[in-house]
């Protein structure tokens, strides 16, 4: 992949809370904020840090299924709602299932490469408009609809349960579940440090043991994962500015308050085909390594990673796809604490999808915001140390079952 023709930066990130079960303010029986609220809050949050809407050239909004969750299409039209200064400026909506947010970032990056100086990228999803059993139908749209009939009631938990089952069979169930439980515990502990996280209020005494002892029950849920192995239903939005050097200057943002985009890649698998091997995330592997190559670095240069842990098993498979552990040893690598916030390679430091939340179309942007915060020292209680010799970070945003993947490498300035 070609090197970028000019330097690209991200700055001025903003996350709304991830609202859903677990947050004290969440009450499914009471009215809740809608799409408009989240888009507006996130967008305004970023505009306030860049000198206002006048400095925005174009906008991109990533969203997966507002057409079904909220009976609302045509989301580009909500961008000027954020600020009147965005009226008559270009705006586009992109969709790649749960990688919609990541795809919004990539579109923004490409727009800057094509000549724009400042692009506003927003990712949003409001999913608590229906019960999870009906939401499962909507989210199943990230798979091939022709597989829906034969699929599980909880379609995507079913898909990843099959992956977990295959992994248990190949590498041992207890050993794997130790890794999955540690992944869950890391997610919860990190989320407790982040006030916008869905699990910020979580006070479970021993999340690792609780997850380990909760035997999956296929009669009521899926065969190989329990509910703690799954990200929750979330409402939320994130926004960030994507800028050229000129854009930074125009917005009055210093480089130390921005991260540089060192490389990126997107990769696509045929949605009509089953994965070649259920114990491998081949599209994540492909995209991540292309992005690292694009940045000219290896995994040893990374200080932190935000990876798409819609399910704990996805965390294990990502660790292996990235090359931190050999095939079959990812769960051990996690169980040993290597991905914890004080481990060799801290992952999902504000909770990831399981701990922070997974407003599907917003997740990719949220990952970028978290990395921007970590590399610029703005993460508050969740801040980790970024070693001088490892100034890089990586985000992996996945749509469907390893179908669309966006990988971005960021560099601390």
């Amino acid at each position: 992949m070609k090197k970028m023709s000019k330097k690209i930066y991200m700055a001025a990130g903003y996350n709304t809370i991830s609202l859903g079960t677990g947050r004290k303010e969440f009450n499914p029986k009471k009215p809740r904020p809608g799409l408009e609220h989240y888009i507006s809050e996130a967008g305004k949050g970023t505009l306030a840090q860049i000198g206002g809407a006048a400095n925005i050239d174009e906008s991109v909004i990533g969203n997966f299924m507002a057409s079904r969750f909220n009976n609302q299409g045509h989301l580009a039209g909500f961008i000027p709602m954020i600020d009147e200064g965005l009226k008559f400026k270009p705006s586009i909506r992109v969709e790649a299932a749960c990688a919609s947010g990541g795809m919004a970032l990539i579109t923004g990056i490409k727009n800057v490469l094509a000549g724009a100086n400042t692009v506003l990228a927003v990712g949003v999803e409001v999913q608590n408009t229906m019960k999870a059993i009906y939401g499962a139908d909507v989210l199943a749209g990230a798979g091939w609809f022709q597989n829906r009939k034969a699929g599980h009631a909880y379609f995507f938990p079913g898909q990843f349960s099959d992956r977990a089952g295959a992994y248990y069979e190949k590498f041992g169930k207890e050993r794997t579940r130790k890794g999955l439980s540690r992944w869950y515990a890391n997610a919860i502990k990190n989320a407790r440090l982040c006030p916008t996280a869905q699990e910020f209020h979580n006070s479970m005494p021993d999340p690792e043991a609780t997850c380990f002892n909760m035997e999956p029950n296929g009669k009521s849920f899926v065969d190989n994962l329990n509910v703690l192995d799954c990200s929750k239903v979330s409402d939320g939005a994130s926004a960030i500015a994507i800028l050229s050097e000129e854009g930074l200057a125009k917005c009055g943002i210093t480089k130390k308050d921005a991260v540089e985009i060192a490389g990126f890649a997107t990769s696509e698998r045929d949605i009509t085909q089953n994965p070649t091997d259920l114990t491998v995330m081949e599209t994540i592997r492909d995209a991540a390594h292309k992005a690292l190559a694009n940045a000219g670095i290896t995994i040893n240069d990374l200080a932190t990673i935000e990876t798409h842990d819609c399910f704990t098993i996805a965390g294990v498979l990502a660790v292996e796809a990235l090359g931190f552990a050999k095939h079959g040893e990812g769960a051990d690598f996690i169980a040993e604490g290597n991905t914890a916030r004080d481990g060799k390679i801290p992952m999902n430091t504000t909770g990831g999808l399981i701990g922070w939340g997974h407003p599907t179309g917003g997740t990719g942007v949220h990952q970028a915001v978290t990395i921007w915060e970590q590399l610029t020292g703005k993460t508050g209680d969740a801040q980790i140390e970024i070693p001088a010799e490892k100034p890089y970070a990586l985000s992996i945003n996945m749509g469907g079952d390893d179908v669309s993947v966006v990988a971005i490498v960021y560099k601390k300035n």
Binding site: F145, R148, H152, A153, K219, F221
Partner: protein
């Protein structure tokens, strides 16, 4: 009446109809109610409840409808299942629809004369020699059998309210019952996933046999306390003792309100003639009933005011018959609490005990402390527990319950007590 039973039965019949071996068979459940309005409400309730149930068994439903290529999403399958359940039910206002039925499930008001009249009418016009299951909570089954001349084709099938939630069913058989009707009733109750407790045919059976006597004990305790305290203060204290000190889900007067003062009074009236050595009757309940203070539930499930006044489901006042109005609990609670004394240090509320894996240990420690406590509240609680124990043992001695375990199961499952009345906690 009977909406919960209708729901469970309709769902069970629809589930049976979905099984491959029953393909092509038609299942019919006549839902008879004399009121059009009642039927309309019943069908609305049924539709809403079936949806809730369907949402909870989606994994199973997808298997059941796997052969339907046109039903792909969960939402489509749930809608079809609701249709299939509703399709089993024939809402009717005429008794004639039962003349061709093989099984009649009756859940009308606890009125012996009305039940006998309906059973007789159906049986005389139905050539199938149908079986009758009656959801009576207190009327002896052999009386209904004899008066309606059913020849043993009737069996007591006592659900606890609300049937869709409560897991307990008391099955009351009589000597004339055939093995077939008893076996079917047992299989039917089990297929509804109920905890079945057999009870002998004594008026009130196990559940009300305990509850009515337990209530009368509470009322008697109020009368004793009234020598030194007002009525509302006395009711407050006995309610508190029977809830907090005894670690029960609600106090005895809240429970009477939940069931309905009118219903409790009626059940006592049904039971009383069958118990020569006891007087199962309360002048206080008569008095409140005559004053229009009845308790019970609103159609949305919220609690009506009775002995107690409720706000958001919590007691906030107590009815004063002299003032014909409620007196706020906050006006006198401190005085009464002080008189009762503090709860033992190891006390935990029912909610924290009943669902705790270490329930047995917690209760053992608590009752140890209660036995040693010298407060008025502890004395009243010990006396209350003693009486509850006697009532439970009495039910076994008189042959109402087959054994201690059955009596305790009814109180644990049907009344959600954290421990059975027949216990060794008293020292």
């Amino acid at each position: 009446m009977g909406s919960g039973i209708l729901l469970l039965t309709a769902v069970e019949m629809a589930n049976l109809s979905l099984k491959p071996e029953n393909k092509g068979k038609t299942f019919v459940l006549n839902a008879i109610d004399l009121s059009e309005e009642g039927l309309a409400g019943l069908m609305k309730y049924l539709r809403a409840q079936v949806r809730k149930m369907a949402e909870k068994k989606m994994v199973w439903l997808r298997q059941m409808y796997a052969g339907r290529a046109d039903l792909i999403e969960n939402g489509q399958i749930i809608d079809e299942y609701i249709f299939d359940v509703m399709n089993v039910v024939r809402p009717v206002t005429t008794m004639e629809s039962a003349y061709g039925s093989n099984l009649i499930f009756e859940a009308i008001a606890e009125n012996q004369g009305l039940k006998v009249k309906i059973f007789s009418q159906i049986d005389q016009n139905n050539p199938n020699k149908p079986w009758f299951f009656t959801n009576t909570s207190s009327i002896p089954i052999h009386v209904l059998n004899n008066e309606a001349k059913l020849g043993g084709r009737i069996l007591g099938f006592h659900f606890y309210n609300p049937p869709a939630v409560q897991r307990l069913v008391e099955l009351i058989s009589i000597n004339e019952n055939s093995a077939e009707i008893k076996d079917f009733a047992l299989a039917y109750a089990k297929s509804l996933k109920k905890v079945v407790v057999p009870s002998n045919d004594f008026a009130g059976f196990i559940g009300n046999g305990h509850f009515m006597r337990d209530s009368l004990h509470g009322i008697a305790e109020v009368e004793k306390l009234m020598k030194d305290f007002s009525f509302v203060e006395s009711v407050y204290m006995v309610n508190k003792v029977s809830q907090d000190f005894l670690v029960r889900p609600m106090g005895i007067f809240q429970l009477i309100d939940y069931v309905g003062i009118d219903v409790v009074r009626f059940i006592m009236a049904v039971m009383n003639p069958w118990h020569d050595s006891e007087d199962l009757h309360s002048d206080l309940l008569d008095k409140l009933f005559d004053m229009g203070v009845k308790g019970g539930q609103n159609s949305d499930g919220s609690q009506k005011d009775g002995f107690l006044k409720y706000e958001k489901g919590r007691p906030v006042g107590i009815y004063d018959p002299d003032k014909k109005d409620y007196v706020m609990i906050s006006n006198f609670a401190a005085k009464c609490d002080s008189y009762l004394g503090a709860l033992p240090e190891s006390w935990k509320p029912w909610k924290a005990v009943n669902f705790n894996k270490k329930k047995a240990d917690i209760l053992e420690a608590y009752f140890g402390d209660l036995n040693n406590a010298k407060t008025v509240g502890a004395s009243l609680a010990k006396a209350y527990n003693q009486r509850s124990n006697e009532i439970g043992l009495g039910l076994v001695e008189r042959g109402v319950g087959h054994n201690k375990d059955d009596v305790n199961t009814v109180m644990l499952t049907g009344f959600f007590h954290a421990y059975g009345p027949i216990n060794d906690y008293l020292k």
